[in-house]
């Protein structure tokens, strides 16, 4: 299988889907050059400026127009630039995109994708670094994906583009240059299908995006002590694959839930409830959580490091549930 990085895998997915379906187009700020993460780089050469639309800095118009286009026959893929900026289009996401199909009694499909580059790293500071997926998990009417590997990124983006409903794809910007094998074949990843990234019998670590890699690192370290950690990646939060998560917990009887976003009101809090509901009798210890502190992401490197949940934190949480 070819090896490529996460960003190139997304680029490949866009190319493949734009070739397959002439209704698909990309829109966003600076997407012709593919600034800043390179995901849309070169697409304009193949598909032209009518399908790779460099928009003005108008988040409300970019996202709102995507809904108008989606309701009338196109399939927009919006590049949100930095997910933090989605607040400038929050009405369009939360009130318009999420609700149109429902409020109109199913009269319109809304096949659009919002690509949400997000996450902590490299001193991006408070307006460029936050993990905001929990905001959207809380909005009925949106599907939310959060891949951790190049193959998943490509497969989920392709599925998202083909989905008749609005899908948000959270792309952790710290993963864009992470490499992995990507199948030659189309390899669509269905929404609502979790993936066991590592088998283990002692503890289940449920982790998303960058935290999957921190979880795998923690698992390697703990394996040296004879602790076998299973790492499960939900891959999509809405819909959620409860069955795979619960099956893992029934094998290990201990759970750590790891995410990067702030602890309070988070997706991890919801996953904790799901596990409690599905597997309360199977648990041998209270669920432990790894998450960011309840602060905006700060700028200075030591402050940013403090706000970054990592493999050390996962190791500590695993030890806690094993006590």
């Amino acid at each position: 299988m070819p090896v490529m990085d996460f960003g190139d895998a997304l680029n490949l997915a866009l190319r493949e889907e734009m070739r397959r379906d002439p209704r698909v187009y990309c829109i966003g700020e600076d997407i012709v050059l593919g600034v800043p993460f390179g995901v849309t780089k070169g697409l304009v050469d193949e598909f032209g400026p009518e399908r790779v639309l460099n928009a003005p800095i108008s988040e409300a118009a970019i996202v709102g127009s995507a809904l108008g286009a989606a309701m009338t026959g196109l399939v927009p893929v919006v590049d949100m630039h930095f997910a933090d900026f989605v607040t400038c289009a929050m009405d369009e996401v939360a009130n318009q995109i999420a609700k149109s199909r429902y409020m109109f009694g199913g009269q319109v499909d809304c096949p659009l994708v919002l690509r949400m580059p997000y996450g902590i790293g490299r001193s991006g500071g408070g307006h460029h670094s936050n993990s905001v997926e929990a905001w959207f998990v809380n909005i009925p009417g949106l599907k939310v994906c959060i891949p951790s590997t190049p193959a998943d990124a490509r497969g989920l983006l392709k599925t998202a583009i083909r989905d008749p409903d609005p899908v948000l794809l959270f792309e952790h910007r710290g993963l864009y240059r992470v490499t992995g094998e990507v199948p030659e074949a189309e390899a669509l990843v269905p929404l609502g299908a979790a993936d066991v990234k590592r088998r283990g019998r002692d503890v289940t670590v449920i982790a998303t995006a960058r935290m999957v890699h921190e979880g795998l690192e923690a698992a390697r370290r703990l394996a040296e002590e004879g602790v076998e950690v299973e790492v499960v990646d939900p891959r999509s939060l809405v819909p959620l694959d409860r069955e795979t998560l619960a099956a893992s917990v029934r094998r290990t009887n201990r759970v750590v839930i790891a995410e990067e976003g702030p602890m309070r009101g988070s997706t991890g809090a919801w996953l904790t409830w799901v596990i409690m509901e599905e597997c309360f009798d199977d648990l041998d210890a209270p669920i432990a959580r790894v998450a960011g502190p309840n602060i905006p992401i700060p700028f200075s490197p030591p402050l940013e490091k403090f706000a970054t949940p990592d493999a050390d934190a996962v190791v500590a949480a695993v030890r806690q549930v094993l006590k």
Binding site: P56, L67, A69, T72, F104, G105
Partner: protein, 315 residues
């Protein structure tokens, strides 16, 4: 257009009565007095053209040819309302006539419209999209973002400001800088027309010009139609913020009476004709009310349908 305005007027008047009688839930914004804008604009559109509307949108839907029965049943919150009771007065759509949604959030249609324009251009369908918004909405960011984008990309969009002088209970003079919404068009390099919104022919002319430009690929236009809201912002609004003289002015400049006078002066309408039109519309509305009254309420569990087109999992 005479029958069109009368249909909107009589529909809204009936809805007000039904609301006062407790038949319709929620809070209600009617467009009595503003009929010339809805009808003049929609008469300039083809049946397959699109409309995006506002929280005061019944008239726009009636003028676009939406089903009165489906609309009335939706206002009642009935299962066979056009949105199955999920939308209601402020969140209604009728995709079958190109009505892509009323909107509870001001100016949101102004950013949806460029996307509809993109889709029209991509599909080479020759359609046009018209978005209604109020003078209050013109002060929100999405108005400016949407006009800018549509102008930049020369999209087939008509921005139609229905200026009824009031942003809820705040006077336009106290909320819109510059004194004119139409003049804002100049900043985006597009035509900005200001018309008497109680003159259905003037509205029709201005919108027709804007539609022709849009269809010819020359880009968007902004039309500001000045009208008067005869009723409160919402039903039950005591209207302490404005004088009775404004409503009196509205009745003096009644767009329906005005067109009727013109038609009678040109011998295009007589008493019998006027009565026939009114009776026909009244019968349509009676049928719509009967349909809504006879319709079943949704089952509570129906609240869980229509969220996604495709969602086989539970959570």
């Amino acid at each position: 257009m005479y029958a069109g305005m009368l249909r909107v007027r009589l529909f809204e008047e009936r809805v007000r009565e039904l609301f006062a009688g407790g038949r319709i839930p929620g809070f209600l914004h009617t467009s009595v007095g503003q009929e010339a804008v809805a009808v003049g604009a929609c008469a300039a559109l083809r049946p397959d053209d699109y409309v995006l509307s506002t929280h005061r949108g019944h008239g726009h839907l009636v003028a676009k040819g939406g089903s009165l029965g489906g609309l009335m049943a939706e206002l009642y919150g009935k299962a066979n309302g056009i949105c199955h009771g999920k939308g209601g007065t402020m969140h209604i759509a009728d995709a079958s006539v190109g009505y892509l949604g009323a909107n509870g959030v001001l100016a949101s249609g102004c950013v949806l419209a460029p996307g509809v324009g993109l889709s029209i251009r991509q599909r080479k369908s020759g359609q046009v999209v018209l978005t209604f918004f109020g003078d209050g909405a013109a002060n929100r960011g999405p108005f400016h973002e949407g006009v800018n984008l549509a102008a930049l990309w020369k999209l087939p969009v008509v921005f139609l400001c229905e200026n009824n002088r009031w942003a809820s209970t705040t006077a336009g003079a106290l909320s819109a800088a510059g004194g004119s919404i139409a003049r804002r068009a100049a900043g985006y390099g597009i035509p900005g027309d200001s018309v008497d919104g109680n003159d259905v022919l003037a509205v029709h002319d201005a919108v027709s010009r804007a539609v022709a430009r849009a269809r010819a690929g020359e880009g968007p236009s902004l039309v500001e139609a000045h009208t008067i809201r005869w009723v409160g912002h919402f039903e039950g609004d005591p209207q302490v913020y404005r004088g009775k003289d404004e409503v009196a002015e509205g009745r003096r400049t009644d767009p329906i009476a005005r067109l009727e006078q013109t038609l009678r002066a040109r011998a295009l309408l007589d008493d019998a004709g006027a009565r026939r039109i009114r009776d026909g519309i009244t019968a349509e509305i009676d049928a719509a009310v009967a349909h809504a009254e006879a319709s079943p309420l949704p089952e509570a569990r129906d609240a869980l349908t229509d969220l996604f087109a495709y969602y086989p999992w539970r959570d």
